[in-house]
């Protein structure tokens, strides 16, 4: 599903922030991406959600060569990817409901279905009373839940989450992780970048460790459970 081969990445003319990154994630896997701050976790995720092209190497997503994909093909590939951004990236002028509804509307879903599905999901993440609230009136944890709901509303093939439980209490963090595991059970491939060692220990899955722009996969590729 996701294959990186000797991938390097740099921002503009700056130094390379990722070097020779090679890994493969098969459909249905659940992985953690860990590493210290500045190791390149967010950069690696940016490559995975196709916000950035690599400076070298090969990236294949859902069987398509990203380097050869045309612009419109990238948009189609992105529809299969749900992303929870570290800074949430909610649209300030839209309510929680409209933020979560965005991927569905972009995909051309019927409005009646949009309202129903989004309301259900927001209720599930504990925001039933904040459906029409604007992001500015939500706490950090509530915004994070809206961001998570937006990422999973379309049941993406690949779910990427950058510190998705960073602002949540332990109980809610566990609940959302169960949501990710549930999505994983029904076929969504999940990659979570996190600092939270407790979460990694409590919910064991294969770990990819980034250090100084280089990647180590544990357990080795092909042996992930």
């Amino acid at each position: 599903m996701v294959r990186f081969e000797n991938v390097g990445m740099r921002y503009g003319m700056g130094p390379e922030v990722l070097h020779d990154v090679t890994f493969e994630i098969n459909a249905g896997e659940f992985r953690y991406l860990v590493g210290p701050s500045g190791a390149g976790k967010t950069s690696l995720l940016r490559l995975m959600y196709l916000a950035h092209r690599p400076s070298r190497g090969l990236i294949s997503m859902f069987g398509a060569d990203v380097m050869l994909a045309r612009r419109q093909e990238l948009m189609d590939l992105r529809r299969g990817i749900g992303v929870v951004f570290q800074d949430y990236r909610l649209l300030a002028h839209l309510s929680a409901l409209d933020n979560v509804a965005l991927p569905l509307r972009v995909a051309g879903a019927k409005e009646s279905q949009v309202q129903e599905h989004v309301s259900e999901l927001l209720a599930w993440v504990g925001l039933a009373d904040h459906i029409h609230a604007l992001p500015e009136s939500l706490s950090g944890g509530q915004k994070q839940r809206v961001a998570i709901a937006r990422a999973v509303i379309t049941r993406p093939r690949l779910l990427l989450a950058d510190e998705p439980t960073g602002n949540l209490d332990e109980a809610l963090g566990q609940r959302l992780l169960r949501l990710f595991e549930e999505l994983n059970r029904i076929g969504t491939t999940v990659v979570i970048a996190t600092h939270n060692q407790n979460m990694v220990a409590r919910n064991p899955h294969p770990v990819m460790t980034l250090g100084s722009g280089e990647l180590r996969v544990d357990p080795p590729i092909g042996k992930a459970s």
Partner: protein, 293 residues
């Protein structure tokens, strides 16, 4: 009741959304007036060229020793025999003096000033009478006769009318180009202001056409809003002008177009403005979005 889906890109809150309708209103107002000018001039030029106002003025200069009355009767008879002449009217001498007094002042026309007798000759509609050959024929029969041909200056007037017509068309085209330039500028500005929103939309799989649709819808709404405003002011102005023009009692005065198709054409201007704005916004947005990663 279905809940209204909010605009994904909040273009309605940008400064251009506040001033653009007024700019469109001004453009539509000017375009409608210019277009009306084109229609009026076109109709007038056609009318002048058709010769609908064909009239000739024949002058009979006084000759020593000859009876003016007898010469007038003879001239009327001669004119009556000319094919195409529909009416012959001898202008009273007092009217001629009135005309001169406008220049010299009342009572300043000397009694011994030799004044010609004027005869208005009406030509049947659509009948092309050659003034030069008429003058030749009349002068062969009667000395002291001359013919003033209105056709010559009407032709010059028609040339002027055609030039003004082209100028008015150029003005309409320039207004259209200005509208296009304004939409291009505001669309680019909108993309620049909302780059973060657009990037996010791209990341969740929105195609350029989806994002461009946000801009084209907004441009069309602003174009329509401004267009309606502009046409209301323009129609009010035209009715005012029509009222003023109606008080002019001259066959040369052009008519404000009243034909249904003419009004339809004018009302189409705001619709065309909205369409131009929409298409321009879409094409500009697509071109700008293609530059984004």
């Amino acid at each position: 009741m279905a809940r209204r889906v909010p605009a994904v890109v909040p273009l309605g809150r940008d400064a251009p959304s506040r001033f653009l309708p007024w700019i469109f209103a001004l453009m539509v107002y000017l375009a409608v007036l210019a277009l009306t000018g084109v229609l009026i001039l076109h109709a007038a030029v056609e009318r002048w060229q058709r010769g609908e106002v064909d009239t000739l003025t024949v002058q009979l200069m006084p000759l020593d020793g000859e009876s003016e009355a007898a010469r007038l009767v003879k001239l009327q008879d001669l004119l009556g025999e000319v094919e195409g002449v529909s009416d012959v009217h001898v202008v009273a001498q007092s009217e001629t003096i009135d005309l001169i007094e406008r220049w010299l002042g009342a009572g300043n026309v000397p009694a011994d000033l030799p004044l010609p007798r004027l005869i208005d000759v009406a030509i049947a509609p659509g009948f092309g009478l050659d003034a030069e050959s008429l003058a030749f024929r009349l002068q062969a029969s009667m000395p002291g006769v001359s013919v003033d041909d209105a056709k010559l200056w009407l032709d010059r007037l028609a040339d002027l009318g055609r030039s003004l017509e082209l100028l008015a068309i150029a003005v309409v085209v320039l207004i259209g180009l200005a509208a296009v330039a304004t939409v291009i500028f505001t669309t680019r500005m909108g993309i620049s202001i909302h780059r973060n929103v657009i990037e996010l939309l791209h990341l969740i799989g929105a195609r350029d056409s989806y994002v461009a649709a946000q801009f084209q819808r907004q441009a069309m709404l602003l174009g329509l809003r401004g267009g309606v405003l502009g046409i209301v002011f323009a129609v009010a102005t035209l009715y005012g002008l029509r009222h003023v023009a109606g008080r002019l009692e001259t066959p040369l005065a052009p008519d404000i177009p009243v034909a249904h198709w003419a009004w339809g054409l004018l009302v189409a201007v705001p619709v065309a403005t909205a369409l131009i704005a929409m298409v321009t916004a879409r094409l500009t947005a697509l071109r700008e979005l293609a530059k984004m990663p």
